[in-house]
Amino acid sequence: MDTNELKEIFKIFESGTISKMELETDSMKIKLEKPVTPETTAVPADRVHPESTPAAAQNTIDSPIVGVYRQAPKPDAEPYVRVGQQVQEGDVVCIIEAMKTMNEIKATCSGVVQEILAKDGDLIEYAQPLMIIGDAQ
């Protein structure tokens, strides 16, 4: 489904004085209700936290160009990074070979390599996520 539509519906519902709504369309069924009392604002701060944390603490390093993924500077060399390794923003994490040029890709954030999403020799598209960087442990 289209979450923008959902956002739109929320906005409409919240802006009015209506306290209860049930809506069913071809593609969705939704029930909305407003608290009848002043508690509306009293949302516990910690309830918001657990949902938003992982998203905030997890980043990906995305390819800035189209090319071929190289995990190491030379075919038989050690890979630039392995899962579990700590990287600093600016560290070279892999190479994207394009037009016979070796382009060093640098970490765009610091953290621990949680997963490497590309394999040696893969065609990499623009903006394709190459690896997931998590919080330092």
Partner: protein, 454 residues
């Protein structure tokens, strides 16, 4: 042998090329910017590669990423479509350099025809009528003014590397020359990084008539008759037809012959167009040569029965034309209306947004070449053309009537388009009579906006 082809373009022309490739058994690779992930051409191609961000310079003009994508996906060839890199000699050279086939003419020819002054000189030498003007670059305004006085006003000041109406000024008298020259030169510098200027006689309100040509590597050249592209607003064509209705057959023959001669002069080998200006007295002048497939190619396809994209690919694949001039017959009349995401009521201001309902026309003699679908969001980054509606009739009047009907059937909700304006245009006397020149469209738009604002 081309087996797999990358299309370095988007939208309607990418879809158009994919369709012909399917028929030819050629696999296709689409490229797209991050703004085009949901575009129709991406969904229709066999494979697709994201090549950059929304801005054209980061994606559809990003030669390295495009060529890399072609190499990596195992393509043999790249089709540049129109616009973007289609007339970029450097790109054509790079494509050839990595061992791929560029669907178009040789890079040298692209370059030579890309420089307007050079093209003009070449054609003059080949005996094609060109507009009277300075033989070469004019170094400063004083020399320019002297030349203008000799040619006689009105004159056109033009940037040698210009295009899209930039770096150009029309000057009607001696006194206005200096300022106009300096302005145009500055604009040329800013837009093209080159301020070589030349001066030509200005032809007032001509018809814009162009000849479609096709030439192979073996010296075979044919013309595919003409198109009338006089319906332009700010140098943007919006409605085209073939053949040119009122063109005297003697003039038509001469123009076609000259177009073939032009190809021979530059040893052309691809699909191309020779653009002419035709003045009220029936005199015509070479304006420029387009070395790409053009937006309006379908009208020529309708009257000749040929698939121009197929022809273009076959020529690039080193095949002989397989067509003799006498085999190419002009039958009936075709018209194309470009449906653009433009608010006609706001002087054709480009629009973008989600298409909330779409109904495209159909039936006998109606062809739809589109790059959109119901629910598609038109991104704000590119050309505003959404769909081309082409109609064909035994007679021009039948063709116009079909187009009116098609415009009535066409519904694009959610964004502004120029569709209603087209409907208005199709009922104007000058259009129906076929006598309109390049001044007509702007006049028509003004009248329509006035009507609409009541």
């Amino acid at each position: 042998m081309i087996r797999k082809l990358l299309i370095a373009n988007r939208g309607e022309i990418a879809v158009r090329i994919i369709r012909t490739c399917r028929e030819m058994g050629i696999r296709t690779v689409a490229v797209y910017s991050t703004a085009d992930a949901n575009a129709l051409h991406v969904q229709m191609a066999d494979e697709s590669v994201c090549i950059g961000g929304p801005a054209a310079k980061d994606s559809y003009l990003n030669m390295n990423n495009i060529i890399q994508a072609a190499c990596q996906t195992g393509c043999d060839a790249i089709h540049p479509g129109f616009g973007f890199l289609s007339e970029n000699a450097l790109f054509a050279r790079l494509v050839e350099a990595v061992g791929l086939v560029f669907i178009g003419p040789k890079a040298d020819v692209i370059e030579r025809m890309g420089n307007k002054n050079e093209a003009r000189k070449t054609m003059q030498e080949a005996g094609i009528p060109v507009i009277e003007g300075t033989p070469g670059i004019v170094s400063n305004w004083k020399r320019g003014l002297k030349a203008a006085d000799q040619i006689g006003f009105p004159v056109m000041i033009k940037a040698a590397n210009g295009g899209g109406g930039k770096g150009m000024r029309i000057v009607h008298d001696h006194d206005a020359f200096k300022n106009a020259f300096l302005e145009a030169k500055a604009e040329a510098k800013a837009c093209f990084g080159n301020d070589d200027m030349y001066i030509e006689k200005y032809i007032e309100n001509p018809k814009h008539v162009e000849i479609q040509v096709a030439a192979d590597e073996f010296g075979n050249v044919v013309h595919l008759f003409e198109r009338d592209c006089s319906f332009q607003i700010r140098n943007q064509k919006m409605l085209e037809e073939a053949p040119c209705f009122l063109l005297d057959d003697k003039i038509r023959k001469a123009m076609c012959k000259d177009a073939v001669k032009a190809c021979q002069a530059v040893h052309y080998s691809s699909l191309g167009t020779i653009e002419f200006l035709l003045d009220a007295s029936g005199t015509y002048y070479f304006m420029e040569m387009n070395t790409r497939i053009q937006v309006e190619h379908p009208v020529t396809e309708m009257i000749t029965g040929l698939d121009l994209v197929k022809l273009q690919i076959r020529i690039a694949n080193h095949n002989p034309l397989g067509l003799k001039q006498k085999d190419i017959v002009c039958r009936g009349h075709a018209m194309e209306c470009r449906i653009n995401a433009e608010d006609a009521k706001a002087d054709l201001k480009p629009d973008a947004g989600k298409i909330t309902f779409l109904n495209l026309p159909g039936g006998r003699g109606v062809r739809v070449d589109g790059g959109i679908y119901d629910g598609y969001t038109v991104p704000p980054f590119y050309d505003s053309m959404l769909v081309k509606v082409i109609t064909f009739g035994d007679t021009r009047l039948e063709c116009i009537k079909k187009m009116r009907q098609a415009m009535e059937e066409c519904v694009i909700d959610g964004i502004h388009t120029n569709e209603e304006f087209h409907y208005f245009v199709l009922h104007q006397k000058e259009l129906i009579e076929g006598v309109y020149d390049t001044s007509f469209a702007q006049k028509c738009l003004k009248e329509w906006m006035e009507n609409e604002s009541v």
